[in-house]
């Protein structure tokens, strides 16, 4: 038999598929459909069933899967339009919902290049000789994250900000616990969003890490006097800006307060670092955060990517993949995954983390976005965000009955206001006016019934702010029920 290896398509055209075997429209994914018998007979087999004879009778499924009929590409696309079209998306109206994710603008170049098949359909670059493109792009990503946060080492991404924070804590405990006066103890700001705390608890509960809440003052700032108790513990985890959007300048003094033997882990809003000092420059050992504002829309909560950067002290005990520069056998510069002996596929149960698949493609999108921005573009992005938040805040404070939850604290993207009605009612009414007015903070902290978290971004316009203000005023005038 002559095997036509150079032009399989021609061969196929000469031997069309028998139409009676085509069971559904799905079959366009199966190149060997209709040629099963030919392949089976070469193996000395007669039926597809023989391929599954090793499955014992008692565990075999007898009946077909009770699922819907196969659909054509056209049919699926139509259903996708119908179902996803039934969602009210953030760009269809003024929206002030952020609470950890940004309604960002993603440059057109980013999805177009990131979905090139060479990137999109590659696996983890285990074979560096044919993966230089992704490896170099990730090395460049590491560099940009390192520069952004002011720390020398960054990995190629965690799942999201919350798992990055959780694994930063377990990493810090691995580094510090043996010599800590308070072993296995980590102090965490009490105002970290509960969803993130929940992730942190799941990641720390089994390995004996004790989490101690650090209180905030009535101004919404971390209580630095109480924070001094964290001295001698393994780590402190705080966020800048915090969950109320506040820029807490006191955090920049934490290093001096907790001493050098306790790890300082800082969660950041990545965009804010266009105007705020990099935490690595005020003593942070590990910086984590949500990378999503660079590279991708909020996408229903994922895929997004977590940032993880640290000092060299944590390098050998940190989670995730790392790309290093090396040379090939000709002495040319080449890139490869490195320090893999930390990882699960080698170290198994003694690995620093179970992470295997990460968010590389989204990190690639982030890298493209960051590269397009450049240093001055980043600063402008942050300025636009800060300007929008300042303008929005000043405008809504002009509404009767609206006051800041924490007056006279500086903010970056978000701010919390107290309303004369419940924020749940306010949001429902604003929604009817076609405005997504923010986030009801009682969903995170029950007693905050009347507190609304308003979030802005670079795209917040004067028109958006006017509509928000009008609808909020109207909602309040409808009175409390």
């Amino acid at each position: 038999m002559s095997v036509s290896v150079h032009c399989p398509l021609m061969r196929r055209l000469q031997a069309p598929r028998p139409t009676d075997i085509i069971a559904g429209d799905s079959m366009d994914q199966l190149p060997n459909l209709g040629r099963e018998l030919e392949m089976l007979s070469e193996m000395g087999l007669k039926s597809m069933d023989e391929l599954f004879e090793d499955i014992p009778e008692d565990v075999r499924r007898a009946d077909p899967l009770p699922l819907r009929d196969p659909q054509s590409e056209e049919g699926i696309l139509a259903d996708a339009h119908r179902l996803l079209g039934a969602n009210i998306h953030l760009d269809s109206r003024p929206s002030f919902l952020s609470a950890g994710l940004a309604r960002n603008f993603v440059p057109s170049m980013v999805p177009m290049l990131a979905t090139r098949g060479e990137f999109l359909t590659s696996y983890t670059p285990y074979q560096p000789e044919v993966s230089q493109g992704m490896l170099q792009a990730m090395w460049e990503f590491q560099t940009m994250i390192s520069e952004l946060v002011g720390l020398p080492v960054a990995n190629v991404s965690m799942y999201d900000a919350s798992t990055a924070a959780a694994e930063a804590i377990t990493c810090a405990v691995r580094v510090r616990s043996k010599r800590a006066e308070q072993p296995n103890t980590v102090y965490v700001s009490e105002k970290v969003p509960p969803h993130r705390i929940s992730v942190i608890r799941n990641y720390t509960q089994g390995v004996g890490i004790k989490l101690v809440e650090m209180p905030h003052t009535s101004s919404g700032l971390l209580d630095l006097e109480v924070a001094s108790k964290a001295k001698g513990s393994c780590a402190v985890y705080v966020e800048q800006p915090n969950a109320f959007g506040i820029i807490d300048e006191g955090l920049m003094r934490l290093r001096g307060i907790i001493g050098d033997s306790t790890s300082l882990i800082v969660g950041v809003d990545a965009v804010s670092l266009g105007v705020l000092e990099a935490p690595g420059n005020w003593g942070a050992d590990i910086v984590v955060g949500e990378g999503q504002p660079f590279g991708i829309g909020p996408t229903g909560g994922g895929p997004i990517y977590g940032i993880f950067a640290c000092t060299k002290d944590y390098l050998r005990l940190m989670p995730g993949r790392i790309v290093g520069q090396s040379k090939d056998s000709d002495g040319e510069i080449a890139y490869t995954l490195t320090l893999s002996t930390r990882e699960q596929h080698i170290r198994r149960h003694r690995a620093t983390s179970n992470i295997c698949s990460n968010e590389t493609l989204i990190a690639l999108m982030g890298a493209m976005h960051m590269a397009l921005l450049g240093p001055e573009g980043l600063e402008r992005l942050a300025m636009r965000t800060a300007a929008a938040a300042q303008e929005t805040m000043e405008t809504v404070l002009g509404i009767d009955g609206v006051e800041l939850l924490f007056p006279s604290t500086p903010i970056f993207r978000e701010f919390a206001i107290r309303l004369p009605i419940s924020s749940e009612a306010a949001l429902e009414r604003m929604d009817r006016h076609g405005v997504t007015g923010g986030f009801d903070l009682s969903r995170w902290w029950g007693p905050m019934k009347n507190v609304l978290l308003i979030g802005c971004d670079e795209r917040t316009s004067m028109d958006d702010i006017r509509k928000l203000s009008e609808s909020l005023e109207k909602a309040i005038k409808e009175g409390s029920h």
Binding site: E118, P152, P298, N358
Partner: protein, 497 residues
């Protein structure tokens, strides 16, 4: 090649941004908190960057550029329809904290996927929140941990894994605080029931196992293994990495499992994207469902006061399981991956078993082409099969030890030489129980012609002289990369200074 940091043009953004809406954008930012110097990011225009990333992409191998038989990773074709759909604002521009009535479409897709995945695995409830296979494992073991605690069985502190298991299994259980007992595989690579019997006890929390095994063979004793673990009071966890082999033919529920994770980035064609994103939903039997992460998509019949929603007669909403472990990812998982997998599922519907049939057909066909004696016969002494089996499932392994003994050529050398022929290398040195292991998984989306050609090329490589292989690859973007040097010099970012 040029790096991003060689671009250092004028201080302007690579694409235009409007001005801030105020002239004093930083009026609210305290001076003492402001950044002293900007990050040293590149200064490049869009045309420069488009070329940079296009050139980088051309130095990368993907399924789109060639056959990718990477065992255990199920590198099947990624339908482009799925990428088109996730660009829609109804998913790209959705915030996970939006109220239910704004996301009826997404909720209905979540609900449909939860139901579909439960049916496929013989489970009672599914969460789509875990964002990778390893996170699915971790989540399921957390649920099992809470189940034991709620039954006064908190003393159960051991998780059993076969020595052929994926490394994530022991790593995930260890992150939950469990001690790991690794049991040896039998002579044929299958589970050793005697070893299992002596490993279980009053301290057994769970066993984690994949079936078919990482050798690509079906564990015929799986039901008995499950009853050994159950009788000891433990739970059975199914690593779904190899689910592509059995979908529609059997399911973990029938085999006796209590929990399972799915890899939407394997079985359901979410692109791997150079290492992620993934999506690792888990399914559980009813006794574990109350512990699942929160929230799950739920529905009730729509009443007349409800808005139309997606007009299918139901109203969808997020619901918190009664004794939930809380969150493992901050939001609702990788919704974009769920939507892609939904589009993939819709192509096949109840015909999903055709997919598995063809995955198994292709694996057996390739195995036959590689291992059958040929007239020239010069390869036959180069390898043995990783595990004896009349038929394999979706993948198979070769033990390249004979070749190494003959000529000093390692499995890695063969893998590197395959790169020269335009193929991705198979999985290397895994599972660790097979020495000099190469693990092949062709998937259902490769044609007979590709498999024929690959077998010919593979056998040809085995007959090449040892030096050619030991110094391979020769025609790739770079020659063999020095991994030891990378770990020694640790240049992990651009050296600006």
């Amino acid at each position: 090649m040029t790096t991003l940091f060689d671009f250092n043009g004028a201080p302007s953004s690579g694409w235009s941004q409007p001005a801030p809406i105020r002239e004093d954008p930083l009026s609210g930012i305290p001076v003492s908190a402001r950044r002293a110097s900007l990050p040293r990011w590149p200064r490049a225009s869009e045309p420069e960057l488009v070329r940079h990333y296009t050139l980088l992409s051309q130095r990368n191998f993907g399924i789109d550029t060639g056959f990718y038989p990477l065992g255990s990773c199920t590198m099947k074709h990624n339908p482009r329809l799925n990428e088109r759909i996730v660009q829609m604002p109804g998913i790209d521009r959705i915030h996970p904290l939006q109220p239910d009535h704004q996301v009826q479409g997404l909720l209905s897709i979540y609900y449909e996927m939860q139901e579909m995945l439960a049916i496929c695995a013989g489970m009672d409830a599914v969460t789509l929140q875990p964002v990778a296979g390893a996170q699915g494992e971790f989540t399921a073991i957390r649920c099992i941990q809470e189940y034991h605690r709620s039954n006064d069985q908190a003393h159960r502190n051991k998780v059993i894994v076969p020595d052929s298991a994926h490394g994530t299994n022991p790593a995930s259980a260890s992150m939950c605080g469990y001690d790991i007992i690794e049991i040896p595989s039998g002579q044929d690579g299958r589970i050793d029931l005697e070893a299992l019997k002596s490993a279980v006890g009053d301290d057994t929390a769970a066993m984690m196992i994949t079936n078919p095994s990482t050798l690509g063979v079906f564990e015929k004793d799986i039901a008995e293994a499950a009853s050994i673990v159950h009788e000891a009071g433990g739970q059975m966890y199914y690593d779904g990495a190899n689910f592509n082999a059995i979908l529609g033919k059997t399911d973990p529920g029938r085999m006796g499992f209590d929990a399972v994770h799915y890899n939407l980035h394997k079985t359901f064609s979410q692109p791997h994207g150079g290492g992620g994103p993934g999506s690792g939903p888990i399914g559980v039997k009813s006794h574990l469902s109350e512990f699942l992460p929160s929230p799950l998509a739920a529905r009730r019949e729509r009443d007349e006061n409800d808005p139309l929603g997606v007009d299918d007669g139901y109203w969808y909403f997020w619901e918190e399981p009664g004794s939930t472990i809380g969150k493992v990812q901050q939001w609702n998982g990788n919704a974009g991956a769920v939507v892609r997998a939904w589009a993939f599922y819709r192509r096949y519907g109840h015909e999903l078993e055709r997919m598995s049939e063809h995955a198994v057909l292709n694996a057996n066909y390739l195995r036959h082409k590689i291992t059958k004696p040929t007239p020239s016969g010069n390869h036959t002494g180069a390898f043995t099969e990783g595990a004896p089996a009349s038929v394999v499932k979706h993948e198979f392994t070769l033990n390249m030890t004979p070749l190494k003994e003959q000529s000093g050529v390692t499995a890695k050398d063969v893998a590197k030489r395959l790169l020269d022929y335009g193929y991705m290398a198979p999985t290397l040195y895994f599972p660790q129980i097979v020495p000099e292991c190469l693990m092949f998984e062709p998937t259902e989306t490769e044609s007979k012609e590709v498999l024929d050609k690959f077998a010919i090329d593979f056998l040809e490589i085995l007959s090449e002289d040892a030096d050619t292989l030991k110094t391979a690859p020769h025609t790739t973007f770079v020659k063999r990369v020095d991994e030891v040097l990378a770990a020694r010099q640790l240049i992990l970012k651009y050296p600006f200074e």
